[in-house]
Amino acid sequence: MREHKVAISVKDLVKNFDGRRVLDGITLDIYHGETFVIMGGSGCGKSTLLRHMTGAMKPDSGKIFFGDKDLTSLDEDQTEQVKRRFGMCFQSSALLDYLNVQENVSLPLREHTTLDPKIISIIVKMKLSLVGLSGFENLMPSMLSGGMKKRVGLARAISMDPEAVFYDEPTAGLDPIVCAVVDKLILDLNKKLLLTSVVVTHNMESVFRIADRVAMLHKGRVLQIGTPDEIRNSKDPIVQQFINGRLDGPINFSESIEDINYSEEA
């Protein structure tokens, strides 16, 4: 087996919300340049895991290494330095709605660099053309469709030339064709910019389209990590029920309702 360089490493991550264990000892390695998909049912802790990786949440115990830096033990300034090395693409795009596309994409550049406005506008043009939205600079987010917003969010995530990009449900709420477009974009960027991509999703088509490796989470634990084929041929009844969307199986419905309540509290 080929030797991989680890980009992000999560070790024994534990997180409780109001006495409920949402992450229960998660350990996984994400390699340089791969597209790593984290999947699982609602409330299984996958979004929480992503928020820990981006430094938005602090774990109760465990470590997260980004390169050689442990995100959990850094002070505020150092965390900020690490945060500049990755981008994040949000489920709701999270564009600032009082800024136009140009201002949204250039926001990190204007805040963190002393680049000339002309250079910034060139960089913005480049990033927008990478996501296929050249010429949209002066539109407001409210004038864009969901798929376009996602792509602007993606352009913003890569504006600082990050090493890794995190995607939270990139295809949620999009029609199948736009889903495919976004998936292709994720793969394209991954190759063109040599990014490490971490994607949280429960869209099975997406998973098998983009993933180099997949981690299946269930009840705050890693159930299985493997290539899409390994996951597809998994013997685990929970994995099989999930990827095939069956009603009957080890995951029962009332449990899922409870889990949704957990995640809303979070």
Partner: protein
């Protein structure tokens, strides 16, 4: 049996802990805001002027009309109410000083603050609250942009300077209301009215009023931001947070008014 005895203590304790948490979170937010205002430059992240000016226009210039109307009519009402009483004593002329002193010391600052709490406090909470529920605050954070520095500090600074300005406008328009009743209804000589109004007005009357408005400005902007940041639960949550923000501001403004007035009253500055 045992549980029945413990239960009330648990309820009270949880309530008190809840309040303490609010106080703790609120003071933390205030601390961070002041940190970024005073020490931000040391971290090579000074305040940026354009957003502060934008906020000043929105909070200050666009609020002039509403502040004018509220205080102007209060001045009229005050003059009419006091004229009736003072005329019995044969001192109608003192309407002028009564209106000017009560407007400058008390009604101008408080009414302006209440109007601005309704207009600006609500706007701050609604804006930050909807950004919170749409993950925009989290997005700023992952871009290593501190939401407090980026969003809240300009609002706090802008309101801190604009509310006293609006208060001055409110004071003047309140006195104008009194003047109109005094001169056109009570028949007091215009020159005499103005002279009486300002003769009895001491600098202390004006600066106590302005001191209050600085305090009110901090209350409105910080309460508004706090409620915005702690918004949960979608559109309903934003509505709830906005209501709580305005109500809390109203109560705190009146309480702070009492405290500041008390300080001036007892210290005899």
């Amino acid at each position: 049996m045992n549980e029945k005895i413990i239960k009330p203590f648990e309820v009270v304790g949880a309530q008190v802990l809840g309040w303490l948490k609010v106080v703790n979170d609120f003071s933390r937010l205030a601390g961070q805001v002041f940190y970024w205002i005073f020490f931000g430059a040391a971290k090579k992240k000074p305040m940026k002027q354009p957003p502060i000016f934008e906020q000043m226009v929105f909070m200050g210039a666009r609020s002039i009309v509403i502040v004018f109307f509220v205080t102007f009519f209060t001045g009229i009402v005050l003059a009419m109410q006091s004229a009736q009483q003072l005329s019995k004593l044969g001192g109608t002329i003192y309407v002028a000083s009564l209106v000017s002193i009560s407007i400058c010391r008390e009604l101008g600052p408080v009414l302006t603050a209440l109007v601005i709490a309704g207009r600006i406090g609500a706007a701050i909470t609604a804006e930050i609250g909807s950004m919170q529920v749409n993950e925009q605050l989290e997005a700023l954070d992952t871009m290593a942009i501190n939401p407090i520095r980026f969003l809240i500090v300009p609002k706090v600074v802008a309101l801190f300077f604009m509310l006293p300005c609006l208060t001055v406008i409110g004071d003047l328009s309140g006195m104008l209301g009194g003047y109109i009743i005094g001169v056109y209804n009570l028949g007091i000589n215009s020159h005499l009215y103005i002279q009486t109004a300002f003769d009895y007005l001491t600098p202390k009357d004006i600066y106590t009023g302005l001191c209050k408005s600085f305090v009110f400005a901090l209350i409105i902007s910080l309460v508004g931001s706090y409620q915005g940041i702690h918004t949960r639960g979608g559109a309903v949550g934003v509505g709830r947070a906005t209501t709580v923000s305005v109500v809390t501001s109203f109560i705190l403004i009146i309480v702070a008014d009492c405290i500041v007035t008390g300080i001036f009253y007892f210290s005899n500055v």
